[in-house]
């Protein structure tokens, strides 16, 4: 592969010159301006910034949900955006390479805990039986194994969040994007989740990008980056 770009073999996320705006004229918002960011395998990074600074927008761009206006982006070594999308099947990319942990849990309300986790495994090609087994193992690991049969509406915020984390991890993604994952958790549970994300980063050589306001967990990151008005600034 010789595309004239600097080759960083261990980089899972690489963004160069990524910009994105919403609206036009007087309502124009430059949500991301010329973002340069590299997250290596096994790295866990904290993304800080005030409300409206573009943190969620950045995660959406990396998650291939929102289209940037300019720049290029490489995920797990694959160039997926270069002033346009290069990959038609971005859903498949999300399914197999990216684990998303939402600000709110976003579980499917009509599936119980096991089914919510197993669903993404089945979509990725696992048999129903295998998917259920792995899903339950993952739930046990996240200490919500006792809530397997519960539906999201019957869970506490923390339980739902841990099920959602299990779902994000279900297909062993190389990239994990988390938007304030510890917000609904008490500090003990927040640390358990951070332990887990650190371990996933190390064990699976995944790149983990976590949006957070929670100063108590700042020291858990390898590195912190800050957004202000759509620009990355030194922390």
């Amino acid at each position: 592969m010789d595309d004239g770009l600097q080759d960083v073999p261990q980089a899972r996320i690489e963004l160069r010159g990524i910009s994105k705006h919403f609206g036009e004229g007087s309502t124009r918002v430059d949500a991301l301006v010329d973002i340069e960011l590299t997250v290596g395998a096994g790295e866990i990074i904290g993304l800080l910034g005030p409300s409206g600074s573009g943190k969620s927008t950045l995660l959406n761009v990396i998650g291939c949900v929102s289209e940037p206006d300019a720049g290029w982006m490489r995920l797990d070594g694959e160039l997926v955006y270069d002033t346009r999308w290069l990959r038609a099947d971005r859903r498949r990319l999300r399914l197999t390479k990216i684990g998303f942990i939402f600000q709110t849990h976003n579980l499917l309300p009509f599936l119980n805990a096991t089914e919510n986790v197993a669903e993404v495994m089945e979509l990725a090609g696992l048999s129903r039986h295998q998917a259920r087994m792995s899903a339950n193992a993952l739930l046990d690991y996240l200490e919500v194994g006792h809530r397997r049969q519960a539906f999201p509406g019957e869970m506490s915020g923390g339980e739902a969040q841990r099920v959602a984390i299990a779902r994000a991890l279900a297909n062993n993604p190389r990239i994990i994007l988390a938007d304030e994952p510890t917000a609904p958790l008490d500090s003990a549970r927040a640390h358990i989740v951070m332990d887990l994300l650190s371990r996933i980063a190390k064990d699976h050589q995944a790149a983990v990008l976590v949006v957070t306001h929670d100063e108590a967990i700042f020291q858990r990151f390898d590195r912190l980056v800050s957004l202000r008005d759509g620009r990355l600034v030194a922390t």
Partner: protein, 381 residues
């Protein structure tokens, strides 16, 4: 993992009510097809039950059912003597509105016939045929009259005793059939009070006579062509002779066609209403799941999964609704005032329409669902 059924399982009660509603709607559609077929069967029961090859009627009429037909009774003897004719019987038809001796109103479609000749009731389910030449009547069980009941008929309210019962014999209008001796029937139909008869004669008109009949039923010798006998009858006797099949056509073409058109109209409207309602239900179900659909897309589910979710739910509602509708009609058809005749072909067509309607109803929802932005899954709320 089947998402459609898991969603249904989670929203059982709501889903059950929806299916019940659709089921009742489809039940009405199914009943309509049954009534449509039943009307046809009812209308043809009488001419088919006569087992006559030819119906001799007044020339240039479509009688005796589509319009009145009057011919002299001695026509029967003229016809009987023609070559190829095995038997001939004179018959009359009329609707009577009367009461039982106990005062209960009854409405009957009365056939007068000559026992021992073509015409008269099909095999009875109870009692016996006419044994006396007057004041006995055989009725269809759908009149709810019992053996031995006395029915008052004619201008003089003569009591007729019910001596026999048939089953499933009604007129094209749904009135129970009844049979009396031809002589009684002629008196009922053509007997004119003496004062009126005098007035008619004074005016130079011939009053109706009790020797008229409405039609003569003809049975032929084996191997004789009905058409050639019909030809001879019209040529030599100046009467119209209508083959049985054509008499059936007159009934379907002239007598019950309006009713069938009306039923067809209702069926079309109901089917359209069902289609709109099913489409709306499916659309609402889909819109309630927008967030789940966004999440599914977000976590990487292909469109096929989302389309499958919608189509499977739509078909489940349609097919379960159809099953419930069918069950309701099968259980309830005995209580309908008219014959409900469920034909496998009609049921298959309705099922096919339901499936098509469900698929068409899903199109709108699928389009909406495929437009859902996966980023919506991120919106807090």
């Amino acid at each position: 993992m089947n998402l459609a059924f898991r969603d249904i399982r989670r929203n059982r009660l709501r889903f059950a009510l929806t299916v019940l509603g659709v089921g009742m709607l489809l039940g009405v559609v199914i009943a309509m097809t049954g009534i449509y077929e039943g009307a046809l069967t009812d209308a043809l029961a009488l001419p088919r039950g006569e087992h006559a090859a030819l119906w001799v009627v007044q020339p240039r009429t479509f009688g005796p059912f589509a319009e009145p037909s009057r011919i002299p009774r001695d026509t029967r003897d003229l016809i009987r003597r023609m070559p190829g004719v095995a038997a001939a019987g004179a018959v009359t038809f009329q609707t009577v509105q009367s009461t039982t001796a106990a005062g209960r109103p009854v409405r009957l479609y009365l056939e007068g016939y000559e026992p021992g000749r073509p015409g008269g009731p099909p095999p009875l389910v109870a009692g016996h045929g006419l044994t006396e030449s007057h004041y006995q009547v055989v009725v269809d069980a759908s009149s709810h009259l019992k053996l031995g009941t006395r029915v008052l008929l004619g201008p003089y309210r003569d009591p007729y005793t019910v001596v026999g019962l048939t089953h499933g014999m009604v007129s094209s209008a749904g009135e129970p059939l009844a049979w009396v001796n031809l002589l009684d029937a002629q008196a009922l139909q053509f007997d004119v009070p003496p004062a009126l008869e005098r007035r008619e004669r004074a005016a130079g008109r011939t009053p109706p006579t009790t020797t008229d009949v409405n039609a003569v039923l003809v049975r032929l010798e084996p191997g004789v062509s009905a058409l050639s006998v019909a030809h001879d009858i019209s040529r030599w006797k100046h009467l119209a002779a209508v083959p049985e099949a054509r008499e059936e056509t007159y009934l379907t073409l002239f007598v019950i066609q309006k009713m069938q058109k009306q039923l067809g109209m209702f069926m079309t409207i109901l089917t359209a209403v069902s289609a709109v309602i099913i489409a709306l239900i499916i659309y609402t179900l889909t819109m309630d799941k927008v967030r789940s659909i966004a999440t599914l897309k977000f976590i990487g589910a292909p469109d096929r999964t989302i389309v499958g979710l919608i189509v499977q739910q739509a078909l489940t509602i349609g097919i379960m609704g159809y099953g419930i509708g069918l069950a309701l009609i099968v259980l309830g058809k005995a209580y309908f005032p008219r014959r409900v005749q469920l034909e496998p072909f009609d049921l298959a067509v309705v099922l096919l329409i339901v499936i098509v309607v469900c698929l068409a109803g899903s199109v709108l929802s699928i389009r909406a669902a495929l437009k859902v932005d996966p980023a919506e899954a991120l919106a807090s709320g």
